[in-house]
Amino acid sequence: MLDVRGLKKVYEGSGRRVEAVRDLTFTVDAGELVCLVGPSGCGKTTLLKCMGGLLTPTSGEVLLGGRPVSGPPPGMAFVFQEYGRSLFPWMRVRDNVELPLKQKKLSPSRRRELVADALESVGLTDAAGAYPWQLSGGMQQRVAIARALAYEPDVLLMDEPFAAVDAQTRADLEDLVRGLWQQRGITILFVTHDIDEAVYLGERVLILSTSPTVVQEQLKVDLPAERDQLHTRVAPRFAELRTHVYEQIQAAKRGKAADLEDVKDMKADAPPTH
Amino acid sequence: MKAETALLGTAGFAGFLVLCEAVPRTGILSEDYFPPVTRIADALVTELGDQAFWTALGDTLTGWALGLAIAVTAGILAGVLIAVTPYLREATASTIEFLRPIPSVALIPLAVLLYGTELQSVLLLVVYASFWQVLIQTLYGVQDVDPVADETARSYGLGTWARVRHVLWPTALPYIMTGVRLAAAVALILAVTAELVIGAPGLGRRIAVAQSSQAVPDMYALVVVTGVLGLLINVGARTVERRALAWHQSVRGEVAV
């Protein structure tokens, strides 16, 4: 479904050259839920933006369903970490979800149907007439997820979507995402810096190294398909997996100290500001 | 990046000058109405050599500075007084909302009757227009005082004036500076207006005289001078604002009023 081949991204500006992503190759199969974890500042956001067609890679390519991505593809939806800045504050919840559909030239009745369905799936039918800023953080991120669902994507890219919400809400949202994935059979690529979250959600976890980024390890999560916050997180296998991922990330961080002095004060997640 | 911006800006300005030279030269606009830049520059040089021009510039600046000083002092004093006196804010709100939007040019006939072409005419208009800018920003600033900080000061037994000095003033200062900057621009507009319409001595009157005597290039030269003056005031006020607030962690944005 998604093929990333030899992806490399170098930011250049005001005399500085930052290699955010060195050489990434991996695939995501149709209907798979893959989590990407890595130390903070390892170029996860850069990678995701290249995949979403928001950034052009320096070399290498991203294929969606066999076709190279060169600009935001219609079959892909993005959920950003900063829900407060990703939802349009001048539109009510309903209009926020509907706006992308208007660009798809769908009939008004079909649009209404999709909006109602998406809002129902995230449990926000009653909030359709509210403005996003009248809702709590967790609810706002639900709106962003509903917007992505209504867009009917084949692939859903989620960039640390729950990093800014409290722990309780976060658990609810994780279960929501797994539930939606199971019901709708969408391919989901979920980026996070939270190891527990990656293991809990993913069918497979890709561990990235520090910047410049390569894939450190691919790990199959052999937990049962039915997961819940209470039991899954205390299962012995869960603990093993998370310990493994943790060790890998620590190893990745040590690797950084050895050969990457030149970019140590640079946050590679974001392009350098000019 | 910075160098590129500066270069593009210079190019843009040069292009603007070339355009202003070419448009009348090629006859798109009549030279009688829109003299080429070079002729305006000539006129400007002549003006700069004229003692009367410097007197006029001095008059305009006097009206501007005096009016601004009065407005700023009165605006800050009134603002703080309204803020620290119980109930005064509620009681004055409607009156301020009514008086503020009154265009100060409405006072022109009154100024003419009372003061003729004297400096007081200019001051009346300048002060009325800029006073509100300072007052409103001061009130916003005072409103922004953290109640916890005020409570703390109170609990340590600081009196009203100590609290004004140490809590209210530092909080309100960024807003007041914004008010002063806005007031400085408005004051120049009104000073020139008073001279232009009433005939008080200054650059405005010189422009009116140049216009009525068909000295078109001179008129444009004087307009350019007022523009440069406005530019200097804007840049100067922004610099002062930034200097004065360098210690402040967040130089606040303008309040939309």
Binding site: G52, G53, L54, P72, M76, A77, F80, E82, R85, S86, F88, P89, W90, M91, L99, P100, K102, Q103, Y131, W133, Q134, Y151 | T5, L8, G9, T10, G12, F16, D32, Y33, A91, A93, S94, T95, F98, R100, I102, P103, S104, V105, A106, I108, P109, L114, I189, V192, T193, L196, V197, G204, A210, Q211, M219, G227, V228, G230, L231, I233, A256, V257
Partner: protein, 259 residues
């Protein structure tokens, strides 16, 4: 109920005191320049009804409307273009900074050269004075569109005119309205002084006529009318702003409360 009465008291008390003070202080005034308030008020309906309303007040207002609308359209359109492209902005900024700094009233004699003293001149004066704050604020607003918002729009295929309408202009609207508000007070000033400078009708012209003929109470009614006009226009503006920027005020109150 008691609360409402108290608020009403605060709203009305000071204005009433001031009017009453003016009334009694001027009641026995024999100073020609300061006629009694009751004389002014009884003169008011005689002066500003009938022909004056249609021959002076209405033309003034129409010219203001025409000039202001033209400035708004041009300012927002040009501002959007300039704000959208960094290089265009770099080229234009110094020129715009200079043009904005020119005190708008000096445009009156300049534009008189081109357009004589008719309606065209006055509309052009109002438009060319009002356009700068609108233009520069639009540039600022368009430039400052949030990066996450524009990436969201891009990733959902919201481009071209839809992006302009639903994202860029909406996101810049608080700034645009700040510019429109500044422009409104400049517009009123220019409306009045363009008529004071050279005209045969209009509010500014009439008021100056009264002053020159020493019709002092009539002149005072003119000042009151201008004041009233400024007040009414600012109230109207605020109503429109509340309507259009309701979301913005809500958003700001929410974030202020939570911070």
């Amino acid at each position: 109920m008691k609360n409402l009465a108290l608020r009403l008291f605060f709203v009305l008390a000071l204005p009433l005191i001031l009017v009453i003070a003016w009334w009694f202080a001027s009641d026995s005034s024999t100073d020609v320049y300061w006629p009694p308030l009751h004389t002014i008020l009884t003169t008011f309906p005689d002066v500003w009804t009938g022909e004056r309303l249609s021959d002076d007040v209405l033309p003034s207002l129409l010219r203001l409307l025409a000039g202001y609308t033209a400035a708004a359209v041009v300012g927002v359109a040009l501002g959007t273009v300039i704000g959208s492209y960094r290089r265009v902005r770099a080229v234009c900024e110094p020129v715009l900074e200079f043009l904005r700094a020119v005190p708008p009233p000096v445009l009156v004699p300049v534009i008189m050269l081109f357009a004589g003293i008719g309606d065209t001149m006055k509309i052009a004066v109002i438009a060319s004075g009002c356009v700068w704050p609108i233009l520069l604020n639009t540039v600022e607003g368009v430039r400052a569109v949030d990066s996450v918002m524009s990436e969201t729009a891009r990733s959902y295929g919201i481009t071209g005119s839809a992006r302009l309408r639903h994202v860029v202009l909406r996101s810049a609207s608080p700034q645009i309205f700040a510019g429109l508000r500044q422009a409104l007070s400049i517009g009123i000033i220019l409306m009045v002084i363009s008529e004071m400078f050279a005209a045969s009708n209009g509010l500014g012209f009439t008021i100056v006529q009264f002053q020159r003929n020493f019709a002092i109470p009539d002149m005072w009614t003119g000042i009151l009318l201008l004041g009233l006009l400024g007040f009414v226009l600012s109230v109207l503006f605020r109503l429109v702003e509340r309507q259009v920027l309701g979301w913005y005020h809500g958003l700001r109150d929410t974030s202020r409360r939570s911070s």
